[in-house]
């Protein structure tokens, strides 16, 4: 039950202290009671938990993680390619 849903802030009603968030196409209101004043802006990514915004997702960090994962995959691909070439060099049954 600790699941929280990444969502994007599409509107803020300062008077009622609520934000309208988009969760993969579903929009709903979320309370801003747990956030500092002006901490959340339109366009921010946030975590939504039982009707409240509980934090702001660090966009730069998310982008950096995804970049690192991509680099890991490229490195593993390259290692595998090198290994295949090495195995191929050693292969006794090569057709003439």
């Amino acid at each position: 039950m600790c699941l929280s849903i990444p969502s994007k802030v599409v509107n803020i009603d300062k008077e009622r202290n609520v934000a309208v968030v988009d969760t993969m196409g579903v929009t709903r209101e979320a309370g801003l009671e747990l956030m500092q004043e002006n901490e959340v802006q339109i366009g921010d990514y946030v975590l939504l938990h039982i009707g409240f915004i509980m934090n702001k997702i660090d966009e730069a960090d998310a982008v950096e993680s995804l970049k690192v994962y991509n680099e890991i995959l490229q490195k593993l691909d390259e290692e595998e390619r090198q290994q295949v070439m090495k195995d191929d060099d050693k292969c006794q049954n090569r057709a003439p």
Binding site: M1, C2, I50, G51, E59
Partner: protein, 383 residues
């Protein structure tokens, strides 16, 4: 910085190629381990993801998960469910709680059963929904039965804040909020688990995702410092979990013992200060709380501060609430599962008498319980 799309926060951290990539890195790193290691994922959200994405099958044989007690629905003792049941059946009362509580059986039945006896029980998505129910039923007493870990506690505190600010007279609270570090400490301290010669010793923790968003990672400092156990705070997505496991193994291989955060996009050291202040304002630690399957854990729950006794349903209804101890089912081995001494499928009633539709034990009650996760996804296991 390249542009981030909302979709990336889901698909980017569930990418099967990245999961497989981490599986290869883990296999390589785990070959250097001198021993078999047990990693406890404390949180039920992690247990669910671990099983849903079949992560045990992607790990080498010398890495084992111990599924921890981090499902607040599962660990709710029957005594507390009975409180909710009794309160719900009072005249003029509407009992409001989160949907997770519907099926949880107490000794008298579940809240669903209370409803079938005529009780007015409302299952809501958010504590804030209680406000509307109170407004529409001014002649009724609305009791919010609050459950959850540190993740959910500030939302209840926020409802308390609104009730007091707006001077709403017909909302009351029954507080069952529990906290993570104390139960982790009890598991480590028990010796039963943390003994070097035991197969079920804990070698490292995966720290909860969203508890840590609120509390910050600082609450786990005692584990590397006092118990020499690494902690890596991990997100709930499968890529997060795999990356965190790699971080744990690297720590062990490099003889480091640290508190690290994998889930940096949402967790930092200090957490959500405003949420913490709200908790502090309205709640204080109770002396102890009985965890279903684990017994009493000191300082592991919150109650309303004395000055808010006038909205504390536990105090207001003290005379009618049952306080006698109730034993768990003898055949159920949930206590052993939560302590890492057994796996769900080793229980004699697992999947037969005890199923998600008719749960006997705490770990089958919620979809985040270890038994429920094994029941749903366990056919993938080749153990």
């Amino acid at each position: 910085m390249s542009k981030l799309h909302l979709e990336d926060l889901y698909s980017g951290f569930r990418d099967s190629n990245v999961i497989k990539g981490f599986s290869k890195l883990i296999e390589k790193e785990a070959k250097k381990l001198s021993k078999h290691i047990n990693i406890m994922e404390v949180c039920g959200g992690h247990t669910h993801s671990v099983m849903k994405y079949g992560l045990p099958q992607l790990l080498p044989k010398n890495i084992n998960f111990i599924h921890g007690p981090g499902c607040p629905v599962c660990i709710m003792p029957k005594e507390r469910i009975d409180h909710a049941y009794v309160l719900a059946l009072q005249d003029n009362v509407i009992l409001v709680t989160l949907g997770d509580m519907i099926k949880v059986p107490g000794s008298k039945g579940s809240l669903q059963d209370a409803r079938s006896k005529g009780a007015d029980v409302r299952f809501v998505y958010s504590p804030l929904d209680t406000l509307k129910i109170a407004e529409e039923n001014p002649e009724k007493k609305i009791i919010f039965f609050a459950i959850g870990f540190e993740t959910t506690t500030p939302m209840t505190a926020s409802l308390v804040d609104i009730v007091l600010q707006r001077n709403i007279k017909n909302i009351f609270f029954h507080i069952n909020h529990v906290t993570v570090p104390e139960v982790m400490e009890q598991l480590v301290d028990s010796g039963e688990v943390n003994h070097d010669s035991c197969d079920n010793r804990i070698d490292a923790f995966l720290g909860p995702s969203h508890v840590s968003v609120i509390t910050g990672s600082k609450i786990y400092e005692r584990f590397p410092q006092k118990y020499n156990l690494p902690v890596v705070v991990a997100g709930f997505e499968p890529v997060d979990i795999m990356e965190a496991i790699l971080m744990v193994i690297k720590q062990i291989n490099e003889s480091r013992c640290e508190l690290e955060i994998e889930y940096k996009r949402s967790v930092n050291h200090h957490g959500n200060i405003k949420a913490q202040a709200l908790i502090e304002k309205y709640f204080e630690k109770a002396l102890q709380f009985k965890w279903r399957g684990l017994g009493d854990v000191p300082s592991s729950s919150y109650m309303l501060r004395q000055e808010y006794a006038h909205i504390d349903a536990e105090k207001l209804y003290r005379d009618i609430l049952p306080f006698e101890e109730i034993e768990d089912y003898k055949l159920c081995i949930c206590g052993d599962i939560l302590r890492g001494m057994a796996k769900p499928h080793q229980c004699s009633v697992f999947g037969t008498t005890c199923k998600p539709s008719t749960p006997l034990g705490s770990c089958m009650v919620s979809s985040e319980g270890a038994c429920a996760a094994y029941y749903k996804y366990g056919n993938l296991l080749n153990e």
